[in-house]
Structure formats: C-alpha cells, structure tokens
Amino acid sequence: MGQSGAPHPVALRRESVDRLLIDWSDGHRSSYAWRHLRDHCPCATCRDEAGRPPDPFRILTPKELEPRPPLAPLSMTPVGHYAYKITWNDGHDTGIFTLEHLRELCQCAECLQRSDRQSGAE
C-alpha cells in the first residue's frame, strides 16, 4: 500500500505469553520471541551498548539482582505509517522499530533458513 509497494502489517497478535505474530500484506507471517525484539532494540542507547564488548568486571546492581517478572511488552503502537514503538515492562520504551527492521528480525522458519544460508555463504 502507499507508493512504495512495500509490505505492511495487517494484523498483530500475541502467541502464547512470549511470542509476537505479525501477518503482512504480502502473505508473510512473522514470528518473534519478545526477548529477540528487546535484544535488537534500535534505539541509540541499546545500539551503543550492543557495540561494546561485555565488561568482565561489571558488578550487578541491587536492582538487577531483584526478582523481576518475565519480559513482556506493555504496548506496541504505530508510529506514523512506517514503524512501531514498543514499551516494555522493564521500563524501556525508546525503541522505534521500522517495518523494514521488523521484517529483517523475523524468526519464522523460512526467514531463519534464509539467514543461515546467507551467513553460511560468508
């Protein structure tokens, strides 16, 4: 739809307690673990942290040691016609996931096979 002809979501659904399903206008059905999306948050802070090597001497804060509920999304709302904003129950809410990025992150069997083949070819 729109001028680009790029696929866009027609429905979003929760599948069990820890997965997201997206039905796309081109017939594709995407499946994601919420954890996978959270780990690939595109916001500037997360991208910065993802680029740094883990610190072997980092001591966990008391807050991080507290028992916490499992990760869950509080909401996933459209941003214009091109992205979604996810707010999480861990307080994080600055990530804006473009439709293109969401397609790239797809964890359905077909997409995982394709990305395995691509990384195998490197």
């Binding site: 001028q3 429905a11 979003l12 909401s75 709302t77 459209p78 214009g80 979604y84 904003k85 439709l99």
Partner: protein, 270 residues
C-alpha cells in the same frame, strides 16, 4: 505524553492533510503553500494553512496578518477565507525563537491538537526546510495524506529536494509530486527566459517516479504582493502564475483522489 513518537494525532474533521516541503530553503515553499491553499479555497474548498516553521514563520506576513495578542485572540485566525495558525502569531516578529528539538516538537503537536480547525477539506502544512524535528514530529504523529515537494530548476536545489523526497519515502508518506517554482520568466514575445536553469523539476520527478505537478513561472508581482500580505492568486488572479497555481491545485486534488486511503497500521491487542 502526547506527541511522543507513537502517539497518533487524529483529525477526523479534516479530509486531507498535505505537507508542502523542500529539502532546501529559499525555493519559495511558503509562497507555494500560501498560494496553493488559496487556489484550493477559490475552487470552493474549506482550507486551513498551518505554518510548521517555528524558527522562521512566513504565514503572517504572506497572509497580511498583523501582530496579535495571543492572550486574547482566538485561533485559528481567518484571512481570505482560510484558517491560519503560525508561530508568528504568538511571537513578536523581532524575537528569535531559540528552541531545542523537544520544544519544537511540542509546539508543532499543539498546533495540530489544540487549535480548533473545524471541518476542513484540506489542511496545508507549510514545513520548514530540511529533514529535522518539525518533519519528524509531523510524519510520526500527524495523519499526512501526502507531500508536495517544491524545487527550483537548478541542480543545487535538486540535490536537497531529493533528500526531502527520500525522507518521505522512508516514513511511508506518499509524495504527491514535484512542483518547480521560479521555472522561467515569460517574455512578451512568448519565449521563456530560464533564469534559474531548466528542467530540474521534471528530471527529479522522472528519476524518483513521482508526478510532476507543474511549473510556476517567475513574476515580480509575486514578491511584491506577497510582501504586502496579498498572495498573487488573490492579488492578480488572471496572471500566468495564478493560472499555474490553479493548475497545481487541480493536480494535487487529482493525485490525492488516485491515492485512495492509506490504512492505519494495526495495533497489538491488549
């Protein structure tokens, strides 16, 4: 918080919201926005014109609105049958607005949500040049039906116009087309003097695969009337440039009609 990326502003009584953009300053975008708005109004449509340029608002001078007292003036202000809102109505013209992004975001959002626009056929939004805060706010939160990109014929303007176009592509806002401003000076013998180069708008439209919405000729009366606060389509409605504006208005209406509705993205059920 309203207006943060992800909060959609709904304008149910506005049929179409059209942004007038350019990558570059100085191509005449505000003049085009004001005259396009008026040409649509002259065609019988109910029109609003929202000035989203917080730093350098042009609408008050172009539409001949004197400085008002924002504490006592109801907004939007009406002029030539069009409803208007601009930062220029709130801030003294001699005062610089030295604001960071979040405040620009707030002001632009409030112009959409807190102003009683009433029922409109078209809300024309005069964007500032570039691809920054005001554009982001509008593409993330406003129900934009489409964008008109203004350029002048020369290559240096095209480079920036392409960036503006690319921005709308990335955020999935339909580009209605390119309008080439200051295209040529019509000479008495019927020839055209192409002062600012030739063909740029058509080339950009062809390269990008978007319609060419027309070419607006140069007329010294555009600036003369504009500075007096009387847009050329009202000031000299029979001039060649006023005719070109009416053709632009017809082209914009046509492109919007062919687009159809862009469906909203679905939300995640709770």
């Amino acid at each position: 918080m309203p207006g943060e990326g992800g909060s959609q502003i709904s304008l149910p009584n506005v049929r179409y919201v059209v942004a007038v953009a350019s990558g570059k300053g100085g191509v005449g975008k505000s003049t085009v926005a004001a005259n396009l708005a008026l040409a649509l109004q002259q065609g019988g449509k109910r029109i609003g014109l929202m000035d989203a340029d917080i730093y350098g608002p042009s609408v008050p001078i172009m539409m001949g609105v004197p400085t008002v007292d924002p504490r006592t003036t109801p907004f939007p202000i009406e002029r030539y049958g069009i409803k208007l809102m601009s930062m220029g109505f709130i801030v003294n013209p001699n005062q610089a607005v030295i604001w960071r992004g979040p405040m620009v975001h707030k002001a632009v959002s409030q112009f959409l949500t807190d102003i009683n626009w009433g029922s409109l056929d078209y809300l024309i939004i005069d964007l500032p040049p570039g691809t920054g805060d005001a554009q982001l706010t509008l593409t993330q939160t406003a129900p934009l039906s489409g964008a008109v990109i203004v350029t002048t014929p020369q290559e240096v303007a095209l480079i920036d116009a392409r960036k503006g176009l690319e921005m709308f592509r990335q955020v999935h806002v339909p580009v209605l087309g390119i309008v080439e401003n200051m295209s040529y000076l019509p000479l008495p013998g019927g020839e055209r003097l192409e002062i600012f180069g030739k063909g740029g708008g058509l080339k950009l439209a062809a390269d990008a695969g978007v319609p060419s919405l027309g070419q607006l000729p140069i007329d010294p009366r555009v600036a003369e009337c504009g500075d007096r606060g009387d847009p050329i389509v009202h000031c000299y409605p029979d001039s060649p440039v006023a005719l070109a504006y009416r053709q632009l208005a017809a082209a914009v209406e046509r492109e919007l009609a062919t687009l159809g509705e862009q469906p909203e993205l679905p939300t995640l059920p709770t």
